[in-house]
């Protein structure tokens, strides 16, 4: 159940108010880096992109959530920035909350009805890929790309 639970977890992002964009590194964040995610294939400017930044867990189980980002969607390519990260491995999973209801809508059998995607995954193949497939190693400011897929 883990993978879909993680996708469902994204659903709760809406309840959290903070945004990650528009923050600039300062003296306080030296030794910390920004991960810039280029989100391609966003089909409309409706609603928001809701993204979850994941880190490797200690026990090798489900990746842990580190932070999240919410921003208004723009049709085409969007850029989301996760600043102030210590060096390490990260991954991003996100969805396009087109109807702005704060959750990823799914049908009764668990197929997402809204666009979704993952860092480093140009061609989504159904469910959530393993952490190592999505991972971005951050040792300096880093960037990655996610391409959203929408159910037909």
């Amino acid at each position: 159940m883990r993978r879909i639970e993680r996708l469902v977890c994204v659903l709760m992002l809406a309840a959290l108010p903070s945004c990650t964009h528009a923050q600039q590194p300062t003296e306080m964040t030296k030794g910390r880096y920004a991960l810039t995610l280029r989100v391609e294939g966003v089909r409309s400017a409706s609603g928001q992109l809701r993204a979850e930044l994941l880190g490797r867990s200690q026990d090798g189980e489900a990746p842990r959530r580190i932070s999240f980002g919410v921003q208004d969607a723009v049709a085409g390519t969007n850029v989301m920035v996760f600043p102030d990260l210590p060096a390490g491995d990260y991954a991003v999973q996100l969805f396009h909350d087109e109807n702005a209801n704060g959750k990823v809508d799914m049908n009764v059998i668990g197929v997402p009805l809204e666009g979704y995607g993952f860092s480093n995954v140009p061609v989504v193949q159904g469910g959530i890929p393993p952490f190592d497939v999505m991972k971005v190693s951050v040792a300096a400011d880093a960037s990655a790309t996610a391409v959203l897929v929408y159910a037909p």
């Binding site: 883990r2 993978r3 879909i4 009764v108 668990g110 929408y150 037909p152």
Partner: protein
């Protein structure tokens, strides 16, 4: 739980991925090699066997006036629609399973004694992507294609290739793993997926919905060890849906409807091994001879389980009709194969071989208590159909494709009119040049008698390399056909048909 949400779970999500024949452990080069090998075996076989045009790519065509033998009845007016897999190869890669080809909707229109023809590929999401790329991008159910396009679930690979019904002013093309597709019955243009609400958007909707005598439509969708039950109003609006547990896995393609009950019968199959993307979901569907076929009887109004029962182990794609007596006895006919590996037979046509036809038609009676009773009706049959006005009522006749030449090992050469009550089946023998597809019953306007109408269907003449539509008097198919309209080209053998009157 009708209309209620079920918690999404990973198993179901991944089951859809598996239905599309995909796992994360993919070996692309192996798959390409397999697709290429099947294509080469097929290409070699077609050199010496002209019958195999039956499994070549179909095409879009318009023919204004077909050559007609005999005389088309003046009071027969409408379109004979046939859906079926028809895009099997792109750029040297051939599908591994017959049921994977993209759907081609064919329409033979009969009007004022003349016949015209039109065919169009159904513009699914998959077909549009692959047509633009000029190659296959997504596997369907038989595996063997490296996925190179994104997918979210079954609708990403839905080929919309199995059957066709009329729904109000629209024609719906059906598959069984995903949504129905809406078409314009006039132009055959694709209008979009059938969508009711977000809860069941994209859920499986099987290829054999059944209409009650009140015009409502029932259907099922397979969710592995569960079933999704549907009831639609006369105009196609969703009245009710519910997910019910089945307690076990077991393939089903068709189901039965009576005036009280919805009867679901699971084949004796189980999923074996890893559902790899090389084998697809069909390649991992294996006989479970130790397991009886499982019958689930649901109340057709409440969708609550009424009772369960068992049939002898085997596999059944199709049923003709069911009707229920006052005491709850359910009578039906079933095309039953003792071979639980029947789904594997349909890998054969893709590499130039013919499937083994072993299924036998039985009349079955399922009493409220005690063992079911069977009566053997006809050996080696498929595609049973009845007068649609007799669905859920006591019917006397079933029409099916059959064999007249016992030596034929390739495809059906005849149609049969089975008399359930008095025996004495009638046959029309198409002859050695023909491969016969499903035939459907069209009631004569104002008819009362069950067999007062026409039997209409298509067949492929492999020596002439032409397909044709043949019209019979449904009371007397044994006397020969009334009319035949010839296309000037062969079309691949299709699956299910439907006659839209008017």
């Amino acid at each position: 739980m009708s209309g209620g949400a079920e918690q999404p779970d990973r198993r179901a999500f991944l089951a859809l991925a598996a239905a599309a024949g995909v796992t994360t452990a993919m070996t692309a080069t192996h798959a390409q090699a397999q697709g290429g090998a099947a294509r080469s075996a097929y290409a070699d076989a077609t050199v010496v066997d002209p019958r195999l045009v039956a499994f070549s790519n179909g095409r879009e065509l318009d023919t204004a006036r077909l050559v007609v033998e005999g005389e088309v009845p003046a009071d027969l007016a409408g379109g004979f629609f046939r859906n079926g897999p028809a895009m099997f190869e792109r750029e040297g890669v051939r599908y591994r399973h017959w049921f994977d080809g993209d759907g081609l909707m064919q329409r033979w229109r009969i009007h004022d004694g003349a016949v015209s023809y039109r065919s169009r590929f159904i513009q699914t999401s998959k077909y549009a992507l692959e047509n633009a790329a000029s190659r296959f991008l997504l596997p369907v159910s038989g595996g063997g294609i490296t996925p190179t396009a994104a997918f979210t679930g079954a609708n990403s690979t839905n080929p919309s290739n199995t059957s066709v019904i009329s729904m109000g002013g629209e024609t719906w093309a059906l598959w069984e793993g995903g949504s129905a597709m809406r078409l314009d019955p006039e132009t055959l243009d694709t209008l979009g997926l059938v969508r009711w609400n977000s809860e069941i958007d994209g859920a499986p909707f099987s290829a054999h919905p059944r209409r009650g005598d009140d015009g409502r439509l029932w259907n099922v969708g397979s969710l592995g060890q569960r079933v999704l039950l549907y009831r639609l109003g006369r105009s196609g609006e969703l009245e009710k849906f519910k997910i019910q547990p089945l307690g076990q896995e077991g393939y089903f393609h068709d189901f039965l409807l009576t005036r009280r009950s919805l009867v679901l019968i699971q084949c004796s199959t189980r999923t074996q091994g890893v559902r790899s993307f090389e084998s697809g979901s069909f390649g991992s569907l294996r006989a479970a001879p130790d397991k009886p076929m499982r019958v689930h009887v649901f109340d057709r109004e409440t969708f609550e389980l009424v009772r369960e029962s068992e049939l002898p182990s085997g596999f059944a794609f199709h049923f003709g009709n069911a009707w229920e007596e006052d005491d709850g006895t359910i009578n039906f006919d079933i095309v039953h194969s003792p071979d639980g590996d029947l789904m594997l037979e349909f890998f054969k046509p893709m590499s130039g071989l013919f499937p083994a036809w072993q299924a036998v038609s039985y009349r079955a009676s399922l009493p409220p208590r005690g063992a079911p009773r069977f009566e053997r009706l006809q050996d080696r049959v498929e595609f049973p159909t009845i007068n649609p006005r007799f669905e859920t009522r006591r019917n006397r006749y079933v029409y099916a494709t059959a064999f007249q030449n016992p030596a034929r090992q390739d495809w059906f050469d005849a149609v049969v009119k089975i008399d359930l009550e008095r025996g004495g089946n009638q046959y029309f023998d198409y002859g050695p040049d023909w491969m016969v597809e499903e035939h459907v019953f069209v009631p004569r306007p104002g008819a009362q008698d069950e067999d007062d109408g026409w039997l209409v269907g298509t067949a492929l003449n492999w020596t002439a390399q032409k397909s044709a539509l043949t019209i019979f008097d449904a009371a007397r198919p044994g006397d020969g056909f009334i009319a035949r309209a010839w296309l000037d080209t062969p079309m691949p053998l299709g699956l299910h048909g439907h006659f839209r009157t008017g």
